[in-house]
């Protein structure tokens, strides 16, 4: 038997396997599962976008495009960033179209990190962040946040984590997995400390459109922050285009051009025909984005209320399509809870610790599934809590005071 370890990269071997993976293997083999474990919209891509893409194939748009993507698309992205976030990026030199927002993140870290540079990652966080930083030669530094503070990071927490090796801070608002949302004041406080310590911000804004209560502010729009921010966004969540793998990054020219250099050697460009569809999304997709958003907002309201009612305490998240209820009172770990719930009641959720240690004691429930499914899931979770002897009351509480 050959020892492959001798051939493999030490860094790659040492990466932690995704905590979601092993759960997926179990859940996907069971029948009659209601899944609240899905990190993507339950809508298919709006027809007009699909139609435009089919037409682009018929018209023969099958070649490479320019490395940063079609200029026409970058111009649309530029207008979109101005319209939505009041940010001005030059389509010629400050925007790049990538394979999902994931590739933008990868490019950002590879462009800015030298070996040993530290990146602060606000946890609970999306599963890829730490691995991307590590693979780019950096050192991920987790900054845990807590439910008592709506999983928002404080200036004091950042201050405590900053060292002279700190290069950047990675933000994700609205957040996967907590749904937590940073408002303008939160961002101003973070901007202050970023400037004080001369850091960069990598801002993952993939859920920006799915913000339900307040207006969205990009940290790049805070005075003095455009210069220090790499904004990452994409089509996956807002336009229900996850499988297309189409994202983009916007940054000041000196940063973006280095990202572009890496992009041209590794990827060349994003698929041509899909970029044509993305142009259509930005030109004519807004109304449908709004409809989907309204639908998520109503489901969010429902699930938060229903989970609190059956005794799973959960705060009202400002965005994305996740709720992150606490299961601490059950005495089970996140993984035990998720596993028992799956085996007993066939409801799949993701254990919170998959998103970092501070996610322990919580579970992530995606409400991007039909209301009927959500209602059934709530029923099953309620029954599960009862079987643990925990469901305190079934009586209806007054609506509106959560």
């Amino acid at each position: 038997m050959m020892n492959y370890d001798q051939f493999l990269s030490k860094k790659a071997l040492d990466l932690k396997p995704s905590g979601i993976r092993k759960f997926f293997d179990v859940a996907s083999k069971l029948d009659n599962v209601i899944s609240l474990g899905v990190g993507e919209p339950d809508f298919t891509t709006p027809w007009t976008i699909r139609d435009e893409t089919i037409a682009s194939l018929e018209d023969g748009y099958t070649s490479y495009t320019a490395n940063p993507g079609l200029l026409e698309l970058r111009e649309e992205i530029s207008r979109y960033m101005k319209r939505k976030f009041n940010l001005s990026y030059d389509p010629e030199s400050e925007i790049i179209v990538t394979i999902g927002a994931s590739q933008s993140l990868d490019l950002a870290f590879r462009a800015i990190l030298n070996p040993g540079d530290e990146v602060l990652i606000i946890e609970p966080a999306f599963v890829s962040y730490a691995a991307l930083v590590t693979m780019a030669g950096g050192k991920p530094i987790p900054v845990p946040t807590y439910g008592e503070n709506d999983f928002k990071v404080t200036v004091g927490q950042i201050e405590a984590a900053v060292t002279e090796r700190t290069k950047a801070i990675l933000l994700c608002s609205p957040n996967n997995p907590t749904g937590s949302f940073l408002n303008k004041d939160d961002l101003k406080a973070i901007a202050w400390i970023v400037q004080k310590h001369n850091l960069l911000v990598v801002s993952d804004e993939i859920y920006a459109e799915l913000t339900y209560d307040d207006e969205y502010t990009s940290i790049a729009a805070i005075p003095g922050m455009y210069e220090r921010t790499i904004v990452i966004n994409g089509f996956s969540k807002a336009f229900a285009m996850t499988g297309w793998r189409l994202g983009f990054a916007c940054a000041p020219k000196p940063l973006l051009q280095v990202m572009l250099k890496i992009h041209q050697y590794t990827t060349m460009c994003a698929p041509h025909m899909l970029q044509r569809g993305a142009i259509e999304a930005l030109r004519n997709g807004e109304e449908q984005v709004e409809e989907m958003k309204n639908s998520y907002r109503r489901r969010r309201n429902y699930i938060v209320h229903a989970l609190n009612e059956i005794g799973l305490p959960c705060h009202m998240p400002g965005g994305a399509f996740y709720v992150f209820p606490s299961i601490q009172h059950t005495g089970l770990t996140s993984e035990e809870f998720a596993e028992k719930l799956l085996m007993k009641e066939r409801v799949a959720v993701v254990p919170g610790n998959a998103f970092g240690e501070s996610g322990e004691g919580y579970i992530r429930c995606s409400y991007a599934t039909s209301l009927e499914q959500l209602q059934e899931a709530v029923k099953r979770i309620g029954r599960f809590l009862q079987s643990l002897g925990l469901r305190t009351s079934q009586k209806k509480t007054a609506v509106g005071n959560i």
């Binding site: 997926f24 996907s28 599962v33 899905v38 339950d42 489901r299 309201n301 429902y302 799949a348 609506v399």
Partner: protein, 167 residues
């Protein structure tokens, strides 16, 4: 009538599915079930919510297959009442499912349902064309319903193709 944002949202919820309890709707809108019921009552009284019909595909029910025709009707409008009087005459027939006033080459679009083609031709010959102001009729028989009132009757399986768990 100018509606509040909440009333607009309620209409959107009901239009998608009106068979939800007031409690479920209340939870989605973050108001009380009593408020939901009061709003519904108000919208019903204002005839903004007109009715709650079920969309039934009768073609699947043995013995209840129906013949549907869409009839283009040209009429001479009457002084004072315009098209309203003749439209009313037509919509009073129970076999008439819908009547619309149209722009273009004809005036009224009338949908009629019957058990057979004979039924419908009898209706056109004996009832519709004998109305005074009706000038002419063109009858189109419907062969298949694909989509009705925004609902796809029998489309491709729009099943959930997502993985059970994803990050």
């Amino acid at each position: 009538m100018k509606l509040t944002e909440q009333e607009m949202e309620l209409l959107a919820v009901l239009e998608e599915n009106h068979r939800q309890s007031a409690e479920t709707i209340a939870m989605q809108m973050q108001i009380s079930p009593e408020q939901v019921n009061a709003m519904i009552k108000k919208l019903e009284e204002a005839k903004i919510i007109v009715s709650y019909p079920a969309l039934i595909d009768w073609s699947k029910v043995d013995g209840r297959e129906q013949v549907v025709a869409v009839i283009d009707v040209k009429v001479t409008p009457k002084r004072g009442v315009g098209f309203d009087e003749v439209a009313e005459k037509i919509y009073r027939y129970p076999e008439v499912r819908s009547v619309y006033l149209m722009s273009g080459t004809y005036d009224l679009s009338v949908t009629v349902e019957g058990k057979s083609m004979k039924d419908i031709s009898r209706f056109v010959a004996k009832k519709l064309s004998t109305i005074d102001s009706v000038v002419s009729t063109t009858t189109h028989f419907m062969l298949k319903k694909y989509k009705h009132d925004g609902v796809i009757i029998e489309g491709k399986d729009d099943k959930d193709r997502r993985m059970v768990i994803s990050p």
